[in-house]
């Protein structure tokens, strides 16, 4: 991967968009414009941006309930994501999904699964169909370290390897499954080793460094598209905020959070750019303004959005042609 100023600008723009979008979400949550669960990606932006940079439009993404960032990067507009969080008709799931269930058929974004591990078998199926239909496209399946303890994780890795499916597994290892540290959940805390046990080519990498993630994802996707079967990336990352919106964070020390904040993906990226003499080519302030405008427009769009009529409550339980 060659990082030029255009790509560097894109990475910075996407990571900043996620950061500022979610900061706005916190405000909207405080004023009860957004309700329910709201799981923020702040601190983990480099993973989503880096991995998705390696995809083409026809590749699919299956994500978790912490998926605002990936949804935005896959191309679902900030307007329609924000409208969804506001519960409006104009939202990407017409107000029926909410924060944990963002979808777009056009962008091949398959949610938004709020059952830990539940997205993995589904991703296997997407890839199986692609293989059967002989379409050379990849399904990226993103999940957290918590999912690794689930049976569905092991069933899915086995099936993907056994059937040589075009799946890129991405484990966002943020060290905690909600409030339980990985060391209390796993006998083997090196998750990439578990993938290797299924004969899946796997590696562990710095998930705070968007360049490292993008590089690894690009290599993995290339291998998958050459029909070599699945690949596995374990991105070591950290969630800066609570698990959801309210969380006393009794399970981790403030000092640990502060240590990780030094590796903030935005800071890390700036440092990398400086090392590469690319920093001066990034119009930081201009990007900040662009992002601010995008979010301002998204909020205005969501505010102005309409509510689904109550008469349509039962719409989409079954397909229209079947009812």
């Amino acid at each position: 991967m060659k990082l030029d100023s255009a790509l560097a600008k894109k990475f910075y723009h996407q990571m900043l968009l996620i950061r500022r979008f979610e900061e706005k979400c916190i405000e909207a949550y405080s004023s009860q414009k957004i309700c329910g669960f709201l799981h923020l990606y702040i601190g983990e932006e480099a993973v989503g941006v880096g991995v998705l940079s390696a995809l083409s439009n026809e590749d699919a993404v299956v994500a978790t309930y912490r998926e605002h960032g990936q949804a935005l990067v896959k191309g679902i507009s900030a307007k329609s994501v924000m409208a969804e969080l506001y519960g409006k008709s104009e939202g990407c799931s017409r107000g029926r999904g909410g924060s944990m269930h963002l979808y777009s058929a056009d962008k091949r974004f398959y949610g938004g699964n709020a059952i830990v591990g539940g997205g993995l078998p589904f991703a296997i199926g997407l890839a199986l169909a692609d293989k059967m239909i002989k379409r050379n496209r990849v399904t990226v399946c993103i999940f957290g370290d918590g999912a690794v303890a689930e049976g569905e994780f092991h069933e899915s890795l086995n099936l993907a390897a056994l059937w040589k499916l075009p799946v890129l597994f991405v484990c966002e290892n943020n060290l905690y499954g909600m409030g339980t540290a990985l060391k209390y959940a796993e006998s083997e805390t090196n998750i990439s080793k578990k993938a290797a046990a299924y004969k899946i080519s796997s590696r562990q990498l710095d998930g705070m460094d968007v360049i490292a993630v993008a590089q690894a994802a690009q290599e993995a996707i290339k291998s998958i598209k050459e029909r070599n079967g699945p690949q596995f990336l374990e991105a070591l990352t950290y969630r800066f905020r609570a698990h959801s919106m309210f969380d006393a964070e009794l399970y981790r020390d403030k000092s640990e959070v502060e240590e990780w904040k030094k590796k903030d993906p935005l800071i890390t990226f700036k440092n990398r750019l400086k090392e590469m003499d690319l920093y001066s080519s990034i119009p930081i302030e201009e990007i900040e303004r662009e992002v601010a405008k995008t979010i301002e427009d998204a909020v205005a769009f969501a505010e102005k959005g309409t509510l689904e009529p109550i008469e349509d409550l039962e719409k989409f339980v079954y397909s229209v042609e079947a009812t």
Binding site: Y103, I133, N158, L159, V317, V320
Partner: protein, 327 residues
């Protein structure tokens, strides 16, 4: 033109026809290929269609059911065979949290045209973990449709109906039906999903049932006819949706109701049917509704105990007399 054949053969022919006509259709599950299917439904399919379309899976119900759901969303028409309903509990996450909800959660963007078949029912001394009849559980869930073919014709028709359907369909094949014989007309127009079928018209008592208990109900009908009770026997065919219209029409005719269901009573489909009749046709009733269900025990192994735990013809006949004696 119709012919006499087995229920197993009817399911097999329906899948065979679908595989021939639509290359998107494939069969996936435990032992469907080399073994030929645990109930021999797919015997010979592997040789004919190859291992890409007849897929032997490892023992991972959640994994392969979820894979079927993903494949359905991505352009295929999978038939997932779960060896028995007992094992489907391991796939509940995928069936309930994914298949049934995806269309709704996505605001209408992703329908899931999957067919999930499984054997169900007790009566073979297989013990408590292999004798469940919990079709009614699945009927609780919006987004799913639950079919219970009882006849050879339905065993054939329902596979095709389900594959033509845009949403997830569960087909429950009672294992005691596979060897039963009946008439099959492969050119007949199938009765649609959600329509009940009156197998015997009667004026005294409405007997509502589904699956293998249709056979017991028909035997009870014969005996009761000789004893002067004219029973209307209705095969529900589909537990979700229920054919309220057909049920209420019969209640309005006979004014007495018995439900025969191999499920347990508590929180069951029989309870649901009673509630609907109560809501929609209460004043038509001349007597309290009754039901013959399985005893509220895990199914026992010993033959006499298992027999006592399940609905039997004698009990249906006795219950019919009881409900007719109510003034």
């Amino acid at each position: 033109m119709s012919e006499n054949t087995t229920y197993r053969e009817a399911v097999k022919r329906a899948i065979h026809k679908a595989m021939k006509e639509d290359e998107r259709v494939f069969l996936m599950g435990e032992d469907v290929g080399r073994y030929g299917g645990s109930y021999a439904v797919s015997m010979g399919f592997l040789e004919e269609f190859g291992s890409e379309r007849i897929i032997d899976t490892p023992l991972c119900e959640s994994g392969f059911t979820g894979a079927g759901i993903g494949a359905a969303v991505n352009g295929m028409r999978p038939i997932v065979e779960i060896m028995t309903i007992n094992f489907s509990f391991l796939a509940l996450d995928q069936i309930i949290n994914s298949a049934s909800k995806l269309l709704y959660m996505s605001g209408g963007q992703f329908n899931v045209p999957i067919v999930i078949r499984m054997a169900t029912g007790g009566g073979n001394q297989l013990g408590a973990q292999h004798s469940h009849s919990l079709e009614g559980w699945y009927a609780h869930v919006p987004g799913l449709k639950v079919l219970t073919p009882a006849t050879v014709q339905d065993a054939y028709d329902m596979v095709g109906l389900a594959l033509d359907h845009p949403d997830p369909i569960l087909i429950f094949e009672n294992s005691n039906l596979y060897n039963t014989k009946g008439e099959l007309d492969t050119n007949a127009t199938p009765l649609p999903i959600g329509k009940a079928k009156i197998h015997r018209e009667g004026k005294d008592l409405t007997l509502l049932t589904y699956g293998v208990n249709l056979l017991k109900a028909l035997k009870a009908h014969e005996r009761l006819a000789k004893e002067g009770i004219d029973v209307e026997v209705i095969d529900l065919r589909s537990l979700r949706p229920l054919d309220d219209e057909a049920i209420m029409a019969s209640v309005k005719k006979t004014h007495r109701v018995m439900i025969v269901d191999e499920g347990w009573k508590s929180g069951s489909i029989s309870a649901e049917i009673m509630a609907r009749i109560n809501e929609q046709a209460f004043y038509e009733l001349d007597a309290p509704m009754v039901r013959v269900c399985s005893a509220e025990v895990p199914f026992p192994y010993a033959e006499h105990l298992e027999r006592a735990a399940m609905p039997q013809v004698d009990e249906i006949v006795a219950m019919a007399h009881k409900v007719m004696e109510e003034s």
